[in-house]
């Protein structure tokens, strides 16, 4: 079984739209939506949930008001400013590290488990999907990404799917790192803007740091052809394979509005043709 992650660095370049098309083209894949704090893939793939799991992320500190002697040591030692001036726990800022529980002279603080989100395994028309939803304002998205990936892997083994396609989140921090460790390859989707180029380079550096083979695809290439050429020559100079150049086409948004992937909604469009040829090349390289 192979694992492919779709990344971008910059948000909004088209990761999810492309991932959803790949799911359709792969026919028997497990798709993992690892953008757990703003997941969108379900709106194109319409999963039917088979299994639901509660995600217990970090714990949270709770102060027993009756025991508390208001000494303020917990506030002083907290590295996350999670104890307010009137010595209450700010649950959103609390990392659940437990320092307050050990510095409290009267044992008035304890760590309790909290439910930080929900993970799902679902059936989709074209295979299976592992996804999740982090509760609003909760931290620890990295751990939830790891759980989604484990679910995707076990489902792929059970259902004999030969590929796991992972939709990552923007950025290069903890949830992104959790979505690329140990994968066979990554496709970075970029756009020909200065921001897109800047963020692509940082994403590629991250993939290189974790020794992941990377491919690049330029979405909406015709918005700025000069920048597209710059990205292509950057890829050539750095020995990175360019895997697709997708034109700007309002059909992509239109298909999203209709709850469909562009491949299903408009199979004959230039966008669909390019994504299909990209997938065929990628699939050959992976297996």
């Amino acid at each position: 079984m192979k694992q492919l992650t779709i990344l971008s660095g910059k948000g909004g370049t088209g990761k999810t739209s492309i991932t959803a098309c790949f799911a359709v083209l792969a026919k028997n894949a497990v798709v993992a939506d690892c953008d757990v704090d703003a997941p969108d893939l379900h709106m194109l793939l319409h999963p039917e949930v088979i299994e639901t799991q509660q995600f217990k992320g970090a714990k949270v500190a709770v102060i027993n008001e009756e025991k508390c002697v208001k000494c303020g040591l917990c506030k002083e030692k907290c590295a996350f400013d999670a104890i307010t001036n009137d010595l209450k726990v700010d649950a959103i800022a609390c990392e659940g590290c437990g320092v307050c529980t050990v510095v409290c002279p009267v044992n008035a603080v304890e760590l309790v488990e909290r439910i930080s989100g929900t993970a799902y395994i679902s059936k989709i028309k074209y295979g299976y999907m592992a996804h999740a939803l982090l509760n609003p304002g909760e931290s620890n998205s990295g751990r939830l990404v790891t759980l989604v990936r484990e679910n995707a892997k076990t489902t792929a083994q059970k259902e004999k799917c030969d590929i796991v396609i992972i939709d990552g989140s923007p950025g290069i921090g903890c949830p992104v790192i959790a979505s690329i460790t140990g994968v066979d390859a990554a496709l970075v989707v970029t756009e020909p803007t200065l921001s897109g180029i800047h963020d692509l380079k940082r994403a590629l550096k991250l993939l290189d740091h974790f020794k992941v083979v990377s491919f690049v695809c330029i979405n909406m290439y015709d918005v700025n052809v000069d920048n597209t050429n710059k990205i292509l020559s950057f890829c050539r100079e750095n020995g990175i394979e360019g895997f697709g150049i997708i034109p700007f086409d309002p059909i992509v948004t239109e298909s999203m509005v209709n709850g469909k992937t562009v491949i299903e909604y408009s199979p004959e469009s230039g966008v669909s043709k390019e994504i299909e040829s990209m997938w065929n090349k990628l699939y050959k390289r992976l297996l």
């Binding site: 948000g11 704090d37 959103i92 304002g137 990295g142 921090g173 903890c174 200065l194």
Partner: protein, 278 residues
């Protein structure tokens, strides 16, 4: 007044709004809190006059003093220390720098050492003071750098914070303590879905907010319907225009080429000021 500019979905136009509003309102401090992928400087070409390192504290275990009792490992909620019968192993990428292991170690074998995880940079363009953070590639923790950027806030000034995408810790850390949060969205199903999550978080932490619809004209009308139902103000609409997209792609703030927008961003800022005073 501190305004944060955020969005659940990435690529909806946070940077576009932050930069153009900052350039339209006179003296301002713009803080780019998207430390994983900072972009504001690409549109501003500021003169960078100072760069400061940002550190977090990672334990160092003195093997001479360590008795491998395992107390630190038992304490650590993040599995950042593994202790066997003859060795203590540290996984710095798991460490959140709480410092608890050093407190619980009965042998005082653990000290905390500074590790560089990124930088913050200071720049300026005319009336605009820019501060932005840059997480070192490969380091997972963005929040300490966001905190370092936010330490530079000058409360007496007009401050604009450009938030990273998403709705989890980096977003929460950025918008905390701001007077108003401007949520930039696009009129598509993805834009609406992620807007709703952001609003849930902002309601939970109690920050007033309003919406900017970018790329107006594409997609559908559901963002508008939702805002009307929920009584949420749409403070500005930026139409989808090829010219705006092209200028952005070249790193040119569109309000400097399409002058009528300078006035619109000034009016937006003024309206937010009035809303927060009520």
């Amino acid at each position: 007044m501190i305004i944060s500019v955020a969005s659940g979905k990435g690529g909806t136009g946070k940077t576009l709004v932050s930069v153009n509003m900052s350039l339209s309102i006179g003296k301002v401090q713009l803080l780019d809190c998207d430390v994983e992928e900072p972009n504001d400087h690409l549109l501003l070409n500021p003169h960078i006059y100072k760069t400061e390192p940002v550190f977090n504290l990672i334990p160092r275990i003195d093997e001479e003093l360590c008795t491998h009792c395992g107390t630190c490992s038992k304490f650590c909620q993040f599995n950042a220390i593994f202790v066997s019968s003859d060795q203590a192993l540290l996984f710095p990428e798991m460490c959140v720098s709480c410092g608890g292991c050093a407190i619980v170690c009965p042998e005082k074998a653990i000290t905390l050492e500074k590790h560089k995880i990124g930088v913050i940079k200071f720049g300026s363009v005319e009336n605009l003071a820019l501060v932005y953070g840059e997480l070192e590639v490969g380091k997972p923790m963005a929040v300490p750098i966001i905190k370092a950027v936010k330490k530079q806030i000058e409360r007496s000034e007009n401050v604009i914070l450009d938030s990273p995408p998403g709705t989890s810790c980096p977003f929460v850390e950025t918008v905390r303590d701001s007077d108003f949060c401007l949520l930039v969205t696009e009129p598509t199903p993805f834009g609406l879905h992620d807007l709703k999550i952001s609003i849930e978080v902002l309601r939970r932490i109690g920050i007033p907010f309003g919406v900017v619809v970018n790329r107006a004209g594409v997609g559908d009308k559901k963002v508008y319907e939702y805002c009307e139902q929920e009584n949420i103000r749409i403070l500005l609409e930026i139409p989808y225009q090829r010219r705006i997209a092209e200028l952005y792609s070249k790193g040119i703030p569109f309000s400097s080429e399409m002058m009528e927008w300078e006035e619109k961003f000034r009016a937006l800022h003024k309206e937010i000021a009035e809303l927060t005073q009520k």
